[in-house]
């Protein structure tokens, strides 16, 4: 196996995106993503079984497209990489089953990797296929999507990742979806809230910042909670409706978004300060949120923290980040996974590679 610049095909099926990525070392060759988001719109959130069925149908065509985009022969890959977890169990299993079969058919080693660490690995790649670069370490990583909200301390991409905190209830992206529903906006909520909030006043309503009170900060310094915020928004809206008043949707959206962004960035910046790490990396689909990026830029600049935000096509769930992480494992001399690993919906972030 080529351990210097391994050619790796990565398969990602942890949520509602079927991602196939191909990298050579840290160079991105293909990043094919098929999303079942539209199928979930009528349900107002990701339906696991709908997502899993969509993965099965999308996987073959996505592999073919990625191989064509990369201009390689499938038989030339050095290894197959796949997300073992965390994520939706039934969805993960589609990718795991396919990856194992591909590994046997091609007689190539397989690397089962951690989805969250994969988001950090996305920073290795240039979205336009230019030369990649090392992730500067140590770094704090804030990963925010519809499925997860996690704060990590990454000392080494392939051997030392620590979970500092995560959401204790809803993921941030989920909160956007739920508040969008309260405001009568369609799914997915993130872009809708972003659009409506543009003309609103973020200081119009002071919504609660979850787990930010002194008493919470003792036990949950780096944890997040968005379910109380969602309820507070719903209650505020209901009170206006009950009083027969018009709901200032733009102000509610802007104020809600501000509360989410404030908590996310405050805790991430605090982690940088606490651990003396002058770097913050963002990942996950919620990075698409314009206000999140803006506040992150302002506050990291003020605190002397270097901010890294991979291109959006690499922030949302994708197979390229999975392939990139596996390529790092291979380069670092890690042995492949056996064929016996499973899909682990709650895989801890400390388990960067699942070996068996």
């Amino acid at each position: 196996m080529n351990r210097t610049d391994p050619l790796v095909l990565g398969i990602e099926t942890s949520c509602d995106e079927t991602g196939i990525g191909i990298v050579r070392g840290t160079t991105l060759l293909a990043n094919t993503i098929a999303s079942s988001m539209d199928e979930h719109a009528r349900y107002g959130g990701v339906v696991p079984e709908v997502a899993a069925r969509a993965h099965l149908e999308a996987l073959g065509p996505a592999i073919r497209t990625a191989v064509a985009d990369a201009g390689i022969d499938l038989a030339d890959v050095d290894a197959i990489a796949v997300t073992s977890g965390p994520g939706l169990a039934g969805a993960l299993m589609v990718g795991v089953g396919a990856a194992k079969a591909l590994s046997v058919a091609l007689d190539k080693p397989i690397y089962a990797v951690n989805h969250l660490v994969g988001h950090v690995g996305a920073d290795l790649l240039d979205a336009h296929g230019g030369p990649g670069r090392a992730v500067e370490l140590p770094t704090i990583a804030l990963l925010v999507s519809g499925g997860h909200t996690s704060l990590l301390l990454v000392r080494d991409l392939v051997s030392d990742v620590e979970l500092l905190g995560e959401t204790i209830d809803d993921a941030a992206g989920e909160a956007f979806d739920k508040v969008a529903r309260v405001l009568g906006l369609p799914y997915p909520g993130g872009p809708q809230i972003d659009r409506v909030a543009a003309s609103g006043d973020p200081r119009a309503i002071r919504f609660p910042r979850g787990l930010s009170q002194p008493k919470d900060m003792a036990a949950h310094r780096y944890d997040f909670s968005f379910s109380g915020l969602k309820t507070a928004v719903a209650r505020w809206v209901e009170q206006r409706q009950d009083a027969g008043e018009t709901v200032p949707i733009a102000d509610v959206a802007a104020s809600f978004r501000e509360a989410v962004v404030d908590v996310l960035i405050s805790k991430a910046v605090a982690a940088c300060a606490d651990f003396g790490v002058p770097r913050l990396l963002l990942g996950g689909g919620v990075v698409a949120n314009a206000r999140l990026r803006q506040v992150a830029e302002e506050r990291t600049a003020a605190a002397g923290i270097a901010l890294r935000v991979p291109a959006l096509s690499l922030c949302t769930d994708n197979g390229a980040m999975i392939a990139a992480l596996a390529a790092q494992l291979i380069t670092a001399g890690h042995e492949p996974s056996t064929l016996l690993f499973g899909a682990d919906s709650t895989l801890p972030v400390t388990e960067i590679q699942v070996v068996t």
Binding site: E49, L56, L92, G97, V104, R181, A234, E238, L339
Partner: protein
């Protein structure tokens, strides 16, 4: 020569040859570990048969009926294997493999194949017998029903807990040989995803 995969019940993988019969078969009856075992079963079956990937002419896969999570693992694996090996994938109704095996073992006349669909439901398929080549003739189903509503009470009922990939693969060989149709491309889940359509936001204030 075919690699055959079925995960509609447990996980079963075989290598079959039209003339040589079932060259190898490995099965794990556990209905909860499809993703864990599938890779090893494929590798092991090929090794047992002493057959290289290049010598296969295709992949046969059971399309169900079967509970969705497990069923999908085998179909995903078969499609990915076919893609990696550059071989075609042919699809077989998993119940047909059960019927084929029973008829080959001497069963005569009609047969109702019944398998567990979980959630206190059953999958069924009705057969009237075999054609001139000994291939099962499915006349009705596959269907899904409550245990008390199993149709075709007059047929001999065959309750099966496993599907043999060896039988499935051999059936695929003869379906191909005799120009009989394979199953459709849709997995036979026979059940819609569990979802509740949202009726707008729920009130949070009293």
């Amino acid at each position: 020569m075919l690699l055959a995969i079925d995960t509609s019940a447990g996980s079963s993988v075989a290598v079959v040859d039209r003339d040589g019969g079932v060259l190898s078969e490995r099965s794990v009856p556990d209905t909860m570990r499809h993703a864990e075992v599938i890779g090893d079963l494929i590798k092991g079956s090929l090794d047992d048969a002493g057959v290289s990937v290049a010598r296969l002419s295709g992949v046969a896969v059971g399309m169900g009926p079967g509970p969705f999570t497990g069923l999908r693992v085998g179909i995903a694996a078969a499609r990915a294997f076919g893609l990696g090996a550059g071989k075609p994938v042919v699809r077989v109704v998993s119940h047909d493999a059960i019927a084929y095996e029973r008829y080959r073992a001497g069963h005569l006349g009609g047969m109702l194949v019944v398998t567990d669909a979980r959630r206190r439901e059953l999958y069924w398929s009705a057969y009237v017998g075999v054609d001139e080549h000994g291939l099962p003739l499915r006349e009705d189903g596959p269907g899904l029903c409550k245990p008390d509503d199993v149709p075709h009470a007059g047929l001999a009922r065959v309750d099966a807990a496993e599907v043999s990939a060896g039988a499935l693969g051999m059936l695929a060989e003869f379906l191909f040989l005799h120009g009989r149709p394979f199953a459709g491309s849709e997995p036979l889940y026979l059940r819609s995803p569990d979802v509740t359509l949202s009726n707008g936001p729920k009130r949070v204030s009293g």
